[in-house]
Amino acid sequence: MNTEAESLLPLPPATFHILVALADEDRHGYAVIKDVAARTGGALRLSPGTLYRSIDRMVQQGLIREISSRPARDMDDERRRYYRITPFGRDVAMAESRRLAQMLDLARAKGLAPRKV
């Protein structure tokens, strides 16, 4: 178990969602917002302030890093800053997922959550 990753748990929901959004591809900020909204069926809409505060902290913590800017097609071709998940960020996201899964198991054992379908 990676203790450095463990020390960041539990992750704030926004942080976890941003890691998930960046898990499969590098994205710029607005793309992250859209991805999170799409995956949660519109339930979680990150505001720009929350997003960039989270990004700022995640960069400092080494969970993600900025990669060189390139034009974003959905944002009028302005140059955007793209972010990529780091191996450490992946470790942390996996540790958080394990933690959530364990919680879910505990709840299931007591009948507080539906059985796996």
Partner: protein, 861 residues
């Protein structure tokens, strides 16, 4: 759009620089996608978001900076500790000094609308003096009250001591008989019960102080209505005053009703009361004075026999203090400002030194992309942390220091002995140090942002340019100057205290114990009753082991400063008491032996000097000088009150009014030869005992004797006579302690300043010095060079310091008791101490320079 951009300004600048454009772009997309009412919702959401996130973003950065500060300060622990200690001393000393000055000089007295409260007494026609110069007679008071039109109300009061019997041990209590106007016009409501009402003629009513209520009655809420016996007479408690109520001074614990009888108005020279009044709204102090001056003129015309020389002492209640106290506090305020300035100079120096050492670190961080704003923010956080820690420690210093200042609060004002710490002052001192810390803490960041930073990165380049070095030298010179000013002023005050202490009081206070045993009237109304009491007490006391002699007197020197009377000497024109006063005391035999007052001619008061023998007097040398210069006074006669007295002895003069004041000639009359009736204030009441043993067992033995003779008779104010003398210089010594501490702190700080600057110079110049040594320079010469640097710093500080010290001394010359403001010995000592301190601060860096070897310099590179 501009609105959104403005909102972004609520975020930290570094955050805005990093993400502002992106956030704006996202907002633009959102704006494009919404129409109509939904737009209102969008703006509402944006506002909410900024309110939530902007402070959080600031907090994120603060947390980072705090962590960073913790790490860097932990690495520079001695720097951090020094900065905190320096700030604490400056803030602490200032807070304490200004709290006391504010408490005594500025803060309104604890009465309703206190600015309108004034005091009125009789005084010399020509004016002069301070406070109440002479008391009023009831008839003059009545005329001032009825003829003036400037006052809302006027009342009169006097002072007395009574024996309180019936609650616990018999106790001596100071009281103030007040007319019924006094308490209402002060505008303070009682905590319990009521105060005297208009046309209330009940002489047995008393109002007690909060302190007495707590100490004698245990704070019993049913105390109103209880009966107490004052000097044997039953009185009923009608009210309790609140905790912070003092009038006229804080010693008074009870107020009784002062009600004049018709005969009280008969004699205009029977002066024993003081006036207090409240100005009518809209009437100024000066208008009221002009009003009273007219009345003074009329009374002088109408009653030339008694009022020809009678003027008034009229002053605001706030100003009832010796000018010396005022000056002392101002001097203290000045000294603490010096210390604050010195503290700031020292702090600035510390921060500049640190900045010089950090230039490279900051340049590296700037090169790595940290914005100037970020670096500044970082440095500001660090400075603030240091000053907050220093300020908090300073509060502790101030809390510890304030009791030291208690002796600087005059006991003539109706306020408590000790001020509370004043928040405004704490704020002021903290602000000053914070500004210094910010100003000099930011200096390096501003430089770091200027783009010259890459110089600092270049290998081998030393940080710290010439101009900054000069600034630091100036700061050190300021420190030295301030400490020289403090050294000079406290040195002069030490000389002044020595001078006062060297004054001969005219008696020998060592091994004399004094006790207050005031006999109550009407229980001891007859002179014979009192004489018998004194005789029995003295007879027993003189048999106690270790007692050499004992006597009673109607007033101790320096404690009872009044009791001024007039005598009529045959063949000499009668002069009013105001001009030719004589201090008189009623004493029992052995008084002079006991007090150690030298008998110069003739004889002491003797047991045989009883009422049925010839009435006699012993007078002091200056009495003889005034009335019979160059003649033998023994056998001469004079009249006092209605009696003729024959002089039987001459004794040395004593300082009745205190060490620093001139006293009237003195006259001593046998206690057994007192007229009847006899005013209670003239009764012998102080027992003085010369002994050769321990004071404590003696005091309790005397108490037992007194109680065995009269169980209701309290014994109070038991103390050695030396303590009375010490009280004379207490306020001076209190001030000196404070100034002395300031001076020591100042000189230490400037030593630290000199040391810091030279140590830094040596470390910066180590390469140059190493090269010189390698090229064959004489190490002793290098050492001398550093010493000369230190001495130059000291010199540039001492010069303005001496000038400033002289100016300060001129300003406080009234405190110096005749010591010249330019006293050469003091100036020489002060400059000597400053030079020695500078030398001490220079030695270590010079030693280090001498020990440098070319090899060690190279290794360090």
């Amino acid at each position: 759009m501009p609105i959104y951009r403005l909102l972004l300004y609520l975020y930290p600048a570094s955050f805005r620089a990093d993400y502002g454009d992106e956030m704006e772009a996202i907002f633009r997309i959102h704006l494009r996608d919404t129409r109509g009412v939904a737009r209102i919702g969008l703006w509402f959401g944006v506002l909410q978001e900024v309110i939530m996130n902007a402070p959080a973003a600031h907090w994120d950065i603060l947390k980072q900076d705090l962590r960073y500060t913790g790490r860097t300060l932990n690495r520079a622990r001695s720097f951090a500790l020094t900065a905190v200690v320096v700030t604490a001393l400056g803030v602490g000393a200032n807070t304490a000094a200004f709290s006391v000055a504010d408490f005594v000089l500025l803060r309104p007295l604890p009465f309703a609308d206190p600015e309108a409260l004034v005091r009125l007494c009789e005084g010399p026609r020509s004016g002069g003096g301070w406070g109440c110069m002479n008391e009023l007679s009831p008839s003059n008071y009545r005329d001032f009250k009825s003829m003036s039109s400037s006052f809302e109300d006027m009342g009169a009061f006097t002072g007395a001591g009574v024996n309180l019997v019936g609650v616990g041990e018999p106790r001596r209590v100071e009281i103030a008989p007040v007319t019924q106007e006094v308490l209402p016009l002060l505008g303070v409501s009682p905590a319990l019960g009521r105060v005297f009402a208009p046309r209330d003629n009940d002489r047995s009513a008393v109002v007690i102080s909060y302190g007495l209520w707590q100490s004698q009655f245990g704070g019993d809420s049913s105390v109103v209505g209880r009966t107490v016996r004052l000097d044997g007479v039953a009185h009923t408690i009608i009210g309790v005053m609140p905790r912070d109520f003092y009038f006229p001074t804080r010693n008074v614990q009870m107020w009784t009703a002062l009600i004049f009888r018709n005969e009280d108005y008969e004699d205009r020279t029977n002066t024993y009361i003081r006036g207090v009044a409240r100005l009518k709204p809209g009437v100024t102090f000066e208008q009221a004075r002009a009003d009273l001056d007219l009345i003074v003129g009329r009374l002088a015309r109408d009653y030339p026999d008694t009022n020809a020389e009678t003027g008034i002492s009229f002053f605001r209640m706030r100003e009832n203090m010796s000018p010396r106290f005022r000056l002392m506090l101002i001097a203290l305020g000045g000294a603490s400002l010096c210390l604050l300035l010195l503290t700031c100079a020292n702090l600035a120096n510390l921060l500049l030194a640190r900045a010089a050492g950090r230039e490279r670190e900051l340049a590296v961080r700037a090169a790595l992309g940290a914005g100037r704003e970020r670096l500044m923010r970082q440095l500001v956080t660090e400075s603030l942390i240091l000053t907050i820690a220093g300020g908090a420690a300073g509060l502790l210093v101030a809390a510890a220091a304030v009791p030291l200042f208690a002796s600087l609060v005059p006991d003539t004002l109706p306020i408590a002995t000790e001020p509370h710490l004043d928040l405004r002052v704490i704020g002021f001192a903290s602000l000053f140090t914070t500004l210094t810390a910010l100003g000099f803490g930011l200096f390096p960041a501003i430089r770091a942002g200027r783009g010259t930073t890459f110089d600092a990165l270049r290998e081998g380049v030393r940080a710290g340019g010439g101009s900054k070095q000069r600034l630091r030298a100036v700061l050190v010179a300021v420190e030295v100057a301030m400490s020289v000013v403090l050294l000079i002023t406290s040195g002069l005050l030490i000389r002044a205290v020595w001078r006062v202490q060297a004054i001969e009081p005219g008696f020998r206070p060592e091994n004399v114990l004094v006790l207050h045993v005031a006999l109550p009237r009407p229980k001891y109304d007859k002179p014979l009753q009192r004489v018998q009491f004194y005789d029995r007490i003295l007879e027993h006391v003189r048999t106690l082991p270790g007692v050499r002699s004992a006597a009673f007197t109607s007033g101790l020197p320096m404690v009872t400063t009044g009791l001024i009377t007039a005598v009529a000497v045959p063949g000499r024109e009668a002069a009013p008491r105001r001009r030719e006063g004589v201090s008189h005391r009623w004493v029992t035999p052995q008084y002079f032996t006991t007090m150690g007052i030298p008998l110069q001619r003739g004889r002491d008061v003797e047991d045989g000097d009883r009422a049925d023998r010839a009435w006699v007097a012993v007078v002091s040398a200056s009495f003889v000088e005034r009335y019979w210069p160059g003649q033998d006074p023994i056998g001469k006669t004079f009249r006092h009150l209605d009696d003729t007295r024959t002089v039987v002895g001459v004794v040395g003069d004593i300082k009745v009014r205190g060490l620093e004041r001139t006293s009237e000639p003195q006259m001593y009359l046998p206690a057994a030869q007192a007229p009847d009736p006899f005013p209670g204030g003239f009764d012998p009441k102080d027992l003085v005992i010369r002994h050769s043993g321990q004071e404590t067992p003696l005091a309790s033995a005397v108490r037992e004797i007194v109680h065995s003779i009269d169980a209701d008779q309290p014994v109070s104010n038991v103390r050695p006579m030396t303590q009375v003398i010490a009280g004379e210089t207490a306020s001076r010594r209190g001030q000196l302690q404070v100034l002395g501490v300031f001076a020591v702190v100042a000189i230490l700080l400037s030593a630290v300043g000199i040391y810091g600057l030279l140590a830094y110079t040596v470390s910066q110049r180590s390469q140059e010095i190493g090269v010189r040594l390698a090229l064959g320079a004489d190490p002793a010469r290098v050492g001398r060079m550093i010493l000369a640097d230190g001495m130059r710093l000291a010199f540039f500080g001492i010069l303005p310091g001496v000038v400033g010290g002289y100016a300060a001394a001129r300003g406080m010359s009234a405190l110096l008791f005749g010591v010249a403001p330019g006293d050469p010995a003091t100036f020489a000592t002060a400059t000597g101490v400053a030079l020695l301190t500078a030398l001490a601060g220079t030695l270590v860096p010079a030693w280090r320079a001498v020990r440098l070897t070319p090899m060690s310099v190279l290794r360090a590179e």
